[in-house]
């Protein structure tokens, strides 16, 4: 017979295996005394947890109940708030009309958490004038109570509640900034400043955030993250992200999933937590350290350092598994946010270019963008040869592609212009070579001087003057329309350069 206390402890410490867990369940099902032993053991575990947090100066979020008079009288919450305006050890609570309230010290963390939570779950139209701070807050709370009482037991709140508070950004530190978006739809739209413990759910599109210490994080929907307190870390609840740490201060940026901590050592990497019980890390440049969160790595090294072009999968079922290849397409490819890179750079023939996708055919957006791969047998390569260090031809695979039909193909790449770039002094130069069978070439909606008969573009370069005015810091997009008149796969070869131009001399 297994010792039930040992099984409970193994369960608490995540070291229980499947057989032991089944045994524990059986013991709990069959005897009420076992269940009470379980409850007491977990109460001890819970109490130790809270003791440790309190001892370290922290406050557990759930202690809001301690700020109420049992049984949870809301009026006590309100009274507490009102009576404590002048409490010495207090924290300001920012109300929409700009006034500040004070919340007593012992409850300040709870109130901060409560306000953040309420903000996330309510649409909060700004109260314009009129309402005094106290009346506004009281009314908001009372209406919230009424609305809650009218709602059924499911917790989805769809109506607009007149809750006129916003998260206490004055006391929750801003730990990151939303610096760019593209076609972004948020579950609850964030402000530009992102504060600790704020949860963000991007349901459509792309976005880019920058942590207080300079790490860039690319988000592709659907994804849910939560900013952590230290200003250089986030929790990835669901979905995929790409982390880019190019500055010294951003090193050490951490992504935490349910299974692992991924700590950047100066790199570009992707983390995928889209599937329950499974996390993947793909390193595109530099190194990361991976630390498993749970007992999923028995018998293997716990702190793994992954180098560029290495990928790992960690699951509760199979532990740690090194993957054969990184899959940048699943991250940066789909996300499509990269430094502006000429086509095919650094890739071998047959590899998909992570920077480019066919996103539409005949102007109709594709549900799944199509890859363009580096080709070494394209019919124009003899004229403009591939050079992996500068640019290569990318095209639909001529041997297998079904996309041979004529029509207008839209290729797209999304890239980041760093904040260090002076937009007033930069021009984007594009040198392009395209398939002879193309009768039209437009870049970002503008006609180019390419002509199928003149072939003038083959050896020339094109400077798009308006670019300095349309480029912006953060995410930019370049879109290329290729009009194909005969049934042959399309392909192109382009070199991009951000060229600094000196200001005119006076």
């Amino acid at each position: 017979m297994q010792n039930i206390d040992a099984l409970i402890d193994a369960y608490i410490d995540h070291s229980i295996d499947d057989v032991q867990f089944e045994t524990l369940c059986e013991l709990l099902r069959e005897d009420d005394a076992n269940r009470q032993a379980f409850a007491r053991r977990l109460a001890t575990h819970s109490a130790i947890t809270e003791w440790c947090v309190e001892r370290s100066g922290g406050q557990l979020a759930g202690n809001l109940m301690d700020c109420t008079e049992e049984p949870g009288d809301v009026s006590a919450l309100l009274r507490l708030l009102k009576e404590s305006e002048d409490a010495a050890d207090s924290v300001a609570v920012t109300i929409h009309d700009g006034a500040d309230w004070k919340v007593p010290g012992p409850c300040k963390e709870q109130w901060r958490g409560a306000l953040s939570y309420l903000h996330e779950h309510y649409v909060t139209p700004r109260v314009i004038g009129g309402l005094a701070t106290a009346a506004g807050l009281l009314l908001g709370l009372v209406l919230a109570i009424l609305l809650f009482s009218l709602a059924d037991e499911n917790e989805h709140f769809v109506e607009q509640a007149p809750f006129n508070v916003e998260p206490d950004v004055t006391t929750s530190p801003i730990v990151a900034t939303l610096i760019a978006e593209r076609d972004a739809v948020w579950e609850s739209r964030p402000a530009k400043g992102l504060y600790a413990r704020q949860r963000l759910t991007l349901t459509q599109g792309f976005a880019e955030i920058k942590t207080a210490r300079g790490a860039i994080v690319n988000l592709m929907a659907p994804v849910t993250i939560e900013m952590l307190d230290c200003g250089n870390a986030l929790r990835l609840h669901d979905g995929k992200i790409v982390g880019i740490c190019e500055t010294e201060s951003s090193k050490g940026f951490m992504v935490r999933t349910a299974l692992i901590d991924v700590i950047d050592l100066g790199t570009r990497f992707g983390v995928d937590a889209s599937i329950a019980d499974l996390s993947q890390v793909h390193v595109f440049e530099g190194e990361v350290q991976v630390e498993p969160q749970r007992q999923v790595t028995d018998g293997q090294a716990k702190h793994l350092v992954l180098e560029a072009n290495q990928a790992i999968e960690i699951s509760t079922l199979h532990g740690v598994k090194l993957l054969e290849n990184i899959e940048p397409d699943r991250f940066v490819g789909i996300l499509g946010i990269n430094p502006l890179t000429s086509t095919g750079v650094g890739l071998d023939a047959g590899q998909a270019d992570p920077n480019w996708r066919i996103v539409a055919i005949e102007g109709e957006e594709l549900d799944t963008p199509l890859s363009l791969t580096v080709v070494d047998d394209f019919h124009h390569i003899s004229r403009v040869e591939n050079n992996p260090s500068s640019a290569q031809w990318i095209a639909f695979d001529t041997s297998t592609s079904e996309y041979r039909r004529s029509g207008k193909y839209t290729a797209q790449s999304t890239f980041i212009v760093p904040e260090t770039v002076d937009l007033d002094a930069v021009h984007l130069h594009i040198q392009y070579f395209v398939d002879d069978h193309l009768t039209g070439l437009r870049i970002n909606g503008r006609e180019t001087n390419w002509h199928p008969d003149s072939h003038s573009s083959r050896n020339g370069s094109l400077v798009l003057d308006p670019y300095p005015t349309v480029l912006s810091h953060g995410i930019n997009r370049i879109s290329i329309e290729l009009l194909n008149v005969i049934d042959t796969p399309v392909g192109f070869h382009m070199t991009f350069q951000l060229v600094h131009q000196d200001p005119p001399s006076r």
Binding site: D5, A6, R35, V74, A114, Y117, I145, F148, L259, L317
Partner: protein, 161 residues
């Protein structure tokens, strides 16, 4: 407040990731406050509160299912009864526990710190202190047992006072 101890323990018994457990606890607290008008005062308050906790835990698992070692609904309901049964004794147990933690030796305090304050798993603790995960698992088990024994004695002493 006895109910909070019970609810916190109940949530942590189902949601083992401490960060997630805190989130759920937070939501339960807010729901309890805002839905208080729905509370039927003829019912045991602990049951009402733990009912909210149960729904929030279910909601959590719908959104963030990450743990394959989860109890089935029947067993969760049975555990609800068990928690309600022990709820009255939990506040005193917590007071006694604080005294007992203070009596742990240095090694015990170190391991408790690593396990709870730094939220490390036995494997990670083992690497930190230079021993095997099994030894840490065993040590944590002994520490909890000694704490519970100590709590029992403290409660007996308090009862005798």
């Amino acid at each position: 407040m006895k109910s909070r101890h019970m609810v916190a323990a109940f949530i942590r018994s189902l949601v083992r990731d401490e960060h997630y457990a805190e989130d759920v606890l937070q939501k339960v607290a807010i729901n309890a406050a805002t839905k208080f008008e729905q509370y039927d005062r003829d019912r045991e308050f602990a049951y009402w509160l733990i009912g909210i906790a149960k729904r929030q835990v279910a909601q959590h698992f719908r959104e963030f299912q990450r743990d394959r070692h989860t109890f089935d609904q029947t067993l969760v309901d049975q555990l609800v009864d068990a928690y309600a049964h022990v709820a009255d004794e939990l506040p005193e147990r917590e007071v006694a526990l604080k005294t007992c933690i203070g009596k742990l030796n240095e090694r015990g305090r170190e391991v408790i710190d690593l396990r709870y304050q730094q939220n490390l798993k036995p494997q990670q603790i083992a690497e930190r202190v230079g021993t095997s995960p099994t030894a840490i698992t065993s040590l944590l088990h002994r520490i909890r047992k000694s704490l519970e024994d100590c709590v029992g004695k403290q409660l007996a002493k308090m009862g005798g006072d």
